[in-house]
């Protein structure tokens, strides 16, 4: 059927209405890019301020949207539901927090350039488009917009050889994954004859579930999703890119892009391909178990904190996949909660590295945290909260995340739950090692901890949020429940 035949002006306007935040953010990013040309280096901080302000405004625009049921607009390219709304708000706020953490760091190493913020804004826009994608085309468009910005951001520090190496590695592998994903999408299109997620879902439901071509396509989609998530065996890029990138970019990749990857998985698998859930669940089980195993075990051997957190990410992705593969609404809710809580904790953990970093000193060795309790009991406490949360201990948010995904798999895959908790014991070891270094060892240096008042406040608030949501997790749990009923 000719899509134009269904075209109605009111429908189109409604779509534009719902896309206002995206349009606003795109315009704001362009405006900031222009404005940045007029600023000299001393005034460069204002770019960051403006970027943060426009992110917060965009988040507010998203938050006030009256979303009750799923709305599909703009000719099926764009859709918004509660999940999209929540994920967008969290992504935007995360990027804003990342910008706050980054400014000091960039300034101290004299690479404070407007491009960092503009690329970040466009990446955030890409993530939003991806989260709200209603068809395979927009899904891919959003993903590439985000990824290309990230490739450039990794290489952003021109003087650094290792950053350039990481950028090339990220770019080459990322393009391959995107290509694989695109190939999978084309097969899905060939089998179902549709690009819109809703139409694909209907086609799959109506008897295409066991189609060999479809399953073949799903396998390629899983590869692409697995790569963007960083799930084993598609994780090779994660440790190198995390370590090689400037820390302020690592935190971007480790947080905002993970939320986008989650949205990608949710749109493709439970939404478009709900009918072949048994097929992709089996594939995800392999990914999940391997991720939990490799991530947790290899992290023990790391001496670089960014690398350790990279393997930690890999292991946490395994837990997120547990919820998705369960194929139930509770499982999806648990995964979403896990992803959001992980992003909050990871932002704080990378924020700590950024806080401790100084001119010519990255503070990304695990031993750089030695004796932190003697240097700053407050921030040692904050880091301890973050580490215990990553280990999944109550009363921190990481515990509720783990509880949710384990709950999701008990019943159908009880053995997976046991595997998951056993690997989390392995994981506890290397998080405890950080606490051990901070509390049990004496400091090797006595420099005062830097950082602007704003950064210290936001970082403390970030860590206290991990504690607060750990004591009263009800609101966030409810939000995730309502988002994915």
């Amino acid at each position: 059927m000719n899509p134009l035949a269904q075209f109605s002006v009111s429908q189109f306007n409604a779509g534009l209405n719902y896309a206002t935040p995206e349009i606003y953010l795109g315009l704001a990013a362009c405006a900031i890019l222009m404005l940045d040309l007029l600023l000299n280096d001393a005034q460069r901080r204002w770019t960051g301020v403006l970027a943060v302000i426009s992110l917060v405004i965009t988040a507010m625009l998203v938050a006030v949207q009256p979303v009750t049921v799923k709305f599909v607009g703009l000719g099926g390219l764009f859709e918004i539901d509660r999940m999209a709304q929540v994920l967008k708000v969290v992504t935007l706020l995360t990027v804003a927090v990342v910008f706050v953490y980054s400014t000091d760091y960039l300034q101290r190493r004299a690479i404070l350039k407007g491009e960092y913020y503009v690329l970040g804004l466009f990446a955030a826009l890409g993530a939003m488009v991806l989260i709200s994608a209603g068809s395979l085309i927009t899904l891919y468009l959003g993903l590439e917009l985000m990824s290309l910005c990230l490739y450039a951001m990794v290489a952003f520090d021109r003087e650094s050889g290792i950053a350039a190496e990481s950028a090339i590695k990220y770019f080459v592998l990322g393009s391959m994954a995107s290509g694989t994903l695109l190939y999978g999408m084309s097969i899905i299109y060939g089998v179902t004859g549709n690009l819109e997620l809703g139409a694909i879902a209907a086609a799959v439901q109506n008897g295409l579930g066991d189609n060999v071509g479809l399953v073949f396509g799903i396998a390629f989609l899983i590869v692409g999703v697995g790569f963007k998530f960083g799930a084993v065996p598609f994780h090779m890029w994660i440790p190198d890119v995390y370590e090689g990138s400037p820390t302020c970019v690592t935190v971007f990749i480790g947080t905002a892009s993970k939320l986008a990857a989650f949205a990608l998985a949710m749109r493709l698998l439970p939404e478009a391909l709900a009918g072949s859930q048994p097929d992709w669940s089996q594939m995800l089980i392999v990914l999940a178990v391997l991720s939990m195993a490799i991530g947790n075990i290899v992290a023990i051997a790391q001496s670089n904190l960014k690398r350790m957190l990279a393997y930690s990410t890999i292991s946490h992705v395994g837990y997120v996949l547990l919820g998705i593969l369960s194929g139930t609404a509770q499982g999806y809710q648990a995964s979403m909660f896990y992803m959001i809580s992980y992003v909050i904790v990871a932002a704080g953990a990378f924020g700590m590295i950024l806080l401790l970093a100084r001119q010519g000193f990255e503070a990304d060795k695990i031993t750089d945290f030695r004796g932190l309790n003697a240097r700053s009991p407050w921030f040692a406490g904050m880091m301890a909260i973050l580490m215990f949360s990553l280990a999944g201990l109550p009363p921190f948010i990481g515990f509720w995340a783990k509880l949710g995904v384990v709950q999701a798999v008990i019943g159908n895959y009880t053995w997976l739950a046991v595997v998951a908790v056993l690997f989390s014991v392995v994981g506890a070891f290397f998080y405890l090692r950080i606490v051990k270094l901070m509390y049990f060892d004496e400091p090797t240096e006595t420099t005062i901890i830097g950082g602007s008042v704003l950064m210290r406040t936001v970082l403390s608030a970030n860590a206290l949020l991990v504690f607060g949501l750990g004591v009263i997790p009800g609101t966030l749990l409810q939000l995730c429940q309502r988002a994915l009923q």
């Binding site: 201990l393 019943g411 009880t414 739950a417 989390s424 051990k436």
Partner: protein
Amino acid sequence: MTFGGYLLSLLIWLPIAGGFIVLALGDRIAAAKWLSLIVSALALALSAPLWALFKTGTAAMQFIERSPWISTIHSEYYIGVDGISMPLILLTTLTTVLIVIASWTNVEKRVAQYFAAFLILEGLMIGVFAALDGVLFYVFWEAMLIPMFIIIGVWGGPRRVYATIKFFLYTFIGSLLMLVALIYLYLKSGTYELAAFQRMPLNLTEQTFIFLAFLAAFAVKVPMWPVHTWLPDAHVEAPTGGSVVLAAIMLKMGGYGFLRFSLPIAPDASRELDWLIIGLSLIAVVYIGFVALAQRDMKKLIAYSSIAHMGFVTLGMFIGFQIVAATGRTSGIGLGLDGAIVQMLSHGLVSGAMFLCVGVMYDRVHSREISAYGGVINTMPKFAAFMVLFALANSGLPGTSGFIGEFMVILASFKANVWYAFFAATILVLGAAYTLWLVKRVIFGEVANDKVAALKDLNGREFFVLGVLAAAVLLVGVWPAPLLDVMRASTLHLAQQLLVSKIAP
């Protein structure tokens, strides 16, 4: 709502809030100490009405507080006590005050953090004993690991890092398996309320897996042979206060878990697998008793003695099924349970006191080796009197608290099988052997060296702490009736739960 309405919440949150304030005091050491003392004394004072207002003669939960907490997973803030948990809460508040007093001068670094850790730990431990909701219980149970990890790791001995990580990981792995069991029960019943778990029918396979998962958590905590190896390390490396909390309260949580979870939730599996627990308990009593004999480090010796005594506790809990099988009568179940609980409380007092005694000597000589001492009685007569009293209580002398529990458990095992009683009774021989031999080598004899010759006797603070514990040990020893009255209704109720099969017809 009356004053009693918020008593338990106050008991839990007052120490935790106090702990955070102490933490904030930072370098103001004197203020931190005094505030810790005030908070812990207040908690002890608050636990007095808990005892006074407690209604004996009913197995129902008392001082109940219940309000919604996390609606999405149907978890509630639901706390209350019965005759099993109330005495343990009293033990916790008493022990914490004594630790604060005993640690007054012998902490040198990060003083505020030290006291804050103990206060927060106190609140969390009371939370464990009071929680009636599975998730709430688990949150307190796991959160407790954090302050203990810090206490051993920061203020411990030379191998403290090894010991504390071992302690943490051992406990963590067991707890997580328990979590899986709790979630399974939740998915089956639709609520995290413990009473619902206890009511719900379960088939034998389910019960067996649940029982084993709980066993993983509680056996590590008790600790039972062969998962006990973390305890000697943790005890030896922990500072005196940490050792006291570990021995006096944390080990009791394993026993409490059996009483609150394993037995009533999986009674049929408990009956099927009682041979396992009884076997492990007897191994703990006999084998670990011999291991204790061979120790050269005082703290290690007391740690092994703790394992042996806790073996007695688990024996008393599970012997009931054998009594029913052997005699057909059910009267012995309550006796075993009563004995186990009294033994837990008594061991809490006695082992805590023993560790404090070692602490007193360690503060002066800075050695825990038995061979570094000898003839302490010549220079520290008052201390020697206390040490001998606690040693006798540890070996189960009539008139001390140690005797009551051991006697009841041996009596119960006699009803089941003479051989159980025979092996169980070896604790009287072995316990006397290793404890009294320790006393002989350390306290009696000629003054061994210059350091011992230079020892000063107890100061007023130490005398007070040991005096309070000595009074408690003797009081429970000669007049256990009030304690047994408090427990009776609850243990009888538990005994009835054990006799009713939960396998749906």
